[in-house]
Symmetry: C2
Subunit: 345 residues, 2 copies
């Protein structure tokens, strides 16, 4: 009924405590016979090792930490917009951790904070995780990654190339934007507006490049007037769309750098009596909102849960093998075609 420890199992199986430990951790050099006896006792008693004690005794903690930007995350929550990114991370990382007997803990730290290092170190000291998953913009913070590497904490960086510093797990934003734009060109669109994202994110800049790539390789000119700045917020999407639709020769299609701004475009168009897909619309991120909107938005799907799963896998691998050689992992994106894109009239 009460707590059952490794000692109880050892006693029941008539072996040393250390032998039980060996069996539980799949270590070699245990005869089949003893293994069976131990496993039988484990099942009978319902023994499960205590994470805390494992951490204390051994060198592993069976814990990963996912570090997210505090401000951004909380703003998403407060706005009622929800936080699809975190949800997807949970999806991928949690299931992967579960499969390996690990756990994942979310932590929020403000990216701009001047004592960022201190806060991160506090988390490391308290939890002593076997690895840490960085999401943007933390994943782009080279100084942070260097600090973690110095402290021998395995790092997986989401959404960016690792470039020899930790693991990089990312998709090709440039090619994704290119493919989205090509989709529109294929539908006969020639004047395609682009709503940019905040340029401080690598991904934003790449998306813009990809947009230009597609135009150029189709022999179209890149008209700067068709590129409107945005910062990923709904409001900035509204402003950008109004600007684009006010052009004398207005675009017949718009590519937005994220869902939020694309939905803003949808609202603005609807308010102006412009139907979608009379104005074709493509977005980035494929969050739940754009599948449920009317019409559903054609969108680039980021493989967030796959990236998180891979990140967790890599870190768990380090914890098991001790090999933390940096590597980069490009994951495929998807273009989900829905009702918001159609042939130009």
């Amino acid at each position: 009924m009460s707590k059952v420890t490794i000692r109880h199992v050892a006693e029941a199986a008539g072996v040393a405590v250390k032998t039980v430990s060996r069996v539980m951790n799949g270590e070699p050099n245990v005869t089949r016979d003893l293994q069976d006896r131990v496993m039988k006792a484990v099942d009978a008693l319902g023994y499960v090792p205590s994470m805390a004690a494992r951490r204390m005794g051994g060198s592993r903690s069976f814990l990963l930490v996912a570090l997210n930007d505090r401000l951004n995350t909380i703003n998403n929550w407060r706005s009622g917009r929800g936080n699809d990114w975190i949800d997807q991370m949970l999806h991928g990382a949690m299931l992967t951790c579960e499969a390996h007997g690990y756990r994942m803990l979310f932590e929020l730290v403000e990216a701009g904070s001047d004592d960022l290092d201190r806060k991160v170190v506090a988390i490391l000291s308290a939890l002593q995780p076997d690895g840490i998953i960085l999401t943007p913009p933390h994943s782009e913070n080279r100084a942070l990654v260097e600090m973690l590497t110095r402290r021998q904490v395995p790092v997986a960086r989401m959404g960016v190339r690792g470039e020899g510093l930790g693991f990089g797990v990312f998709m090709d934003d440039r090619r994704a934007a290119e493919e989205a734009t090509r989709h529109l060109i294929g539908l006969g669109h020639a004047r395609i507006g682009f709503i940019a994202g905040s340029p401080r994110f690598q991904a934003s800049r790449q998306r813009r490049e990809g947009y230009a790539d597609a135009l150029r390789s189709a022999g179209l000119t890149v008209d700067e007037a068709l590129i409107a700045p945005g910062d990923f917020t709904f409001e900035s999407g509204v402003a950008a769309t109004e600007r684009l639709l006010a052009l004398p020769d207005r675009p017949t299609a718009i590519l937005a750098s994220n869902d939020e701004m694309a939905l803003a475009a949808l609202h603005v168009a609807s308010r102006r009596g412009i139907g979608v897909p009379d104005l074709s619309l493509v977005s980035f991120d494929d969050t739940p909102g754009v599948r449920l909107s009317v019409p559903g938005l054609t969108s680039i799907r980021q493989p967030i849960s796959d990236m998180a799963a891979r990140a967790a896998e890599l870190l768990i691998g380090v914890s098991k093998t001790g090999d933390a050689t940096p590597s980069d992992h490009l994951l495929p994106f998807g273009l989900e075609i829905r009702g918001s894109t159609a042939a130009r009239q």
Copy 2:
């Protein structure tokens, strides 16, 4: 650079290890003088106590577990619908935990599983949390709650009354449905359709009652033909809506038992060329999708993050004071009025 332990702090401050411990835990009977010396050393060294060691030595783990239904959660993820419930839980519980120096870990267990108890006990053994937050349907599982209580694990139950067994943190679904219905009646609607939820959930049954309450108190008759069964899925929402709209004297408004089914109603209406709010629509849950749909849906907002925050608070309170006297906590819901409801033409 390296790990700094309580011993280092004790040495630096010239006090006993136990004194540092006392200061860190805000225990009484430490002179101001020593307190300051210790805190100075703590700051200088950047000391943060190790969770694992705290758990080992003491009786608290500074850890809460949130138990969710595995199947439901994973289905939501797989379907690409996202998991607003979990996201909101994170929002409320994580911030509360953070404020108290606690952490929260999500765990998934299949509600229907025949060795549910075993799985839950395994989680308890591994993590030894200071409390556990149950979400539906786990929170409605009386046997489970009883087992946990027997094992002295403080329990907070989301979405249901505690009724003397653990903490109950919930909203009044019946009154919420009543208010939503009254809103429609106030707009002049008399024939109001209702899309029910799966009756195995307490909340579903209560919502239906509330719907009937409002009709009756307005002097309207409850027409069974206007009540269509559903099971919270989009598909069931489609079927239910088609059934309601096929009625000879079709409803001018529909109240759906969740967002998913309401969005289905929106789709069906749009397909049939019926505009919303010509057909007025109200939903339950107020997930991000219904704010972004066109038009935005009037919806009952469940205070999920507030409930989660309260649940965490209660459990942390138990861990601090030792008092686990059961109590119930009714939290207010909100009726978010958007473009999907309008006066009857």
